[in-house]
Amino acid sequence: MSGPLASLAEVVAAEWLKLRSTRTMLMLSIVALVLTAAPVVLMLSFLEGGDFADGGETFMVLTIPGAVVGLMMLVAGVLGMAGEFRHGTITYTFLATPRRERVILLKLGFYFVAGGVAAVVTLLLIQLLATIVLPIRGIAIVYPEGEAWAHCGRLVLTTALFGAFGVALSALLRSQVLTVTLTLVWVVLEWMILPMILAVAGHPRYAIVLPLTVFLQATGLPTLGGGESELADFYMSAGQAQLLGLAYIAVAAIAATMTTMRRDVT
């Protein structure tokens, strides 16, 4: 392998080494594992054979805790980009790749793929837990089938989008603390305050285009089992939500690229 492909392979290997050579990412992985596996084991423990229409639907319900991996990937993306500014390693990254837009693009791509891989690993873990726990309880093992495959695909894509969104946000804000703080503040705003204000103003449906709600709709989880939220009537399709999520990432990434190219690295 030579030329641009070799260069790409080297920088991807560099990103992978960055990811696995610090304890932070290991801790994030452990947290994601525990937050996914524990609820799934509990669900499997209380599941009854006839709870759902078929094995595919059962499997889809079991993936609900896996959505937490998306949030973990958001944090991983933030740490992956803003961490470079925090630790001063961005200087050497820009020296190695002076075309700064390439650094941002590469990180976006890397954390998109990493998010996808993390989601696949999560789904495999859920399948593994089902394969171990259900026979012990004398219930037939469930596998993804029918609509469940499409659901798994949505989950993988959305987790990937979360990773890229974390990179785009932190490339724009640069400060790790600021990015994490603003994200937390935004979570409170979007899930507690803004819907209330929009409802009072008589426009509750506008809440469905807010970024985190968009990413949640992209998973298809809110409409699983009919959807019980007040917003359920307004939800867009998972495909539409994925496109809008991509648009959010693109806007943040373009703004980040423009400011990063102009900023001095001192």
Binding site: A13, L17, S21, F94, D264, T266
Partner: protein, 300 residues
């Protein structure tokens, strides 16, 4: 004459209302060690960062190896940089920190062990950077600069944090690099520290160039200082004043600029003074720096 490796032309950089570099021009010849010297805030680091395209100039241009840094193919393989010893993730091992640098610069990873060996950190490569002393981090940064076996090295204050043994090692190391035909630009605010190492100097003050060229040429015009000690100091002082020779005192010594040891010894003898100490100090970079900056101050 070979084309310069680095060229800076009419470079100006402002950070808000602060003028960091002011119409600076100089060039660096290939195969030389050049010291970029000046006190803190003189504009050395800013100039280096503009050359490396990390900081955008307000005006002027810089070129390195014939082009702008960001126009070069795989610049990190051809140009090694030490900018900041804290530019490593503290949670990574020294070896992994260099591994990241190597991979993202397209440098074979087997160079990592070579570079660690070169700077004397081979045994400490598996330790996390946060357990390193300041001097070890400086060596690690130097190893990072050497990874690509570069033809040009830009080192910003490489002696920071090094103990006297480390500084002596650094001097020998820089000499070795220059002996291999590499071009080295090294910045420092400690003039005496680099005096024994560099061939040429670029001296900055308040962002402006005050002198550049070979040290020998720049200090040639400066008269050496002669130190003389005597119980009859007053008699020598009066004799020097009568001849309008510049003289000052430093502890129990008279510091004389102009006449050499022989002439001063004769003058002391003629004045009836017993000389208990007499030596000549050759012109130093520090002396040159103060002479030049005082001239600049007077001119302004």
């Amino acid at each position: 004459m070979a084309a310069p490796v680095i060229t800076v032309e009419h470079l100006t950089k402002r950070f808000g209302g602060t003028l960091a570099v002011d119409d600076l021009s100089f060039s660096i010849a290939p195969g030389t060690i050049t010291g970029m010297l000046g006190p803190n805030g003189a504009g050395k680091t800013t100039t280096l960062r503009v050359i490396l395209d990390l900081v955008k100039p307000t005006a002027g241009t810089t070129r390195i190896l014939g082009g702008r840094y960001n126009e070069l193919d795989h610049p990190a393989r051809r140009i090694g940089c030490l900018l900041d010893a804290s530019g490593f993730h503290l949670g990574r091992s020294g070896r992994n920190a260099l591994g990241v640098l190597a991979l993202q610069s397209g440098i074979p990873r087997d160079r990592v062990d070579w570079a660690l060996e070169m700077v004397g950190l081979a045994k400490d490569g598996k330790r996390r950077v946060k357990t390193y002393s300041q001097g070890m981090r400086q060596r690690l940064a130097l190893a990072g600069a050497l990874l690509g076996d570069p033809e040009v090295l830009l080192l910003d204050e490489p002696a920071n944090g090094l103990d006297p043994e480390g500084i002596a090692w650094l001097r020998g190391f820089l000499r070795k690099l220059a002996g291999e035909g590499r071009t080295v630009l090294v910045s420092s605010h400690v003039l005496a520290e680099v005096e024994q190492t560099v061939d040429d100097v670029v001296i900055l003050h308040h962002g402006r160039l005050v002198a550049d060229g070979p040290i020998a040429d720049l200090t040639k015009g400066l008269a050496p200082r002669v130190f003389i000690r005597s119980p009859q100091q007053r008699a020598i002082w009066d004799a020097l004043q009568a001849r309008q020779v510049p003289v000052s005192t430093l502890d129990e010594w008279l510091v004389v600029q102009g006449p050499g040891c022989e002439e001063l010894g004769r003058l002391a003898y003629e004045s009836g003074a017993v000389v208990t100490g007499l030596y000549e100090e050759r012109a130093t970079l520090e002396q040159l720096f103060f002479t030049l900056t005082q001239t600049e101050l007077r001119a302004s």
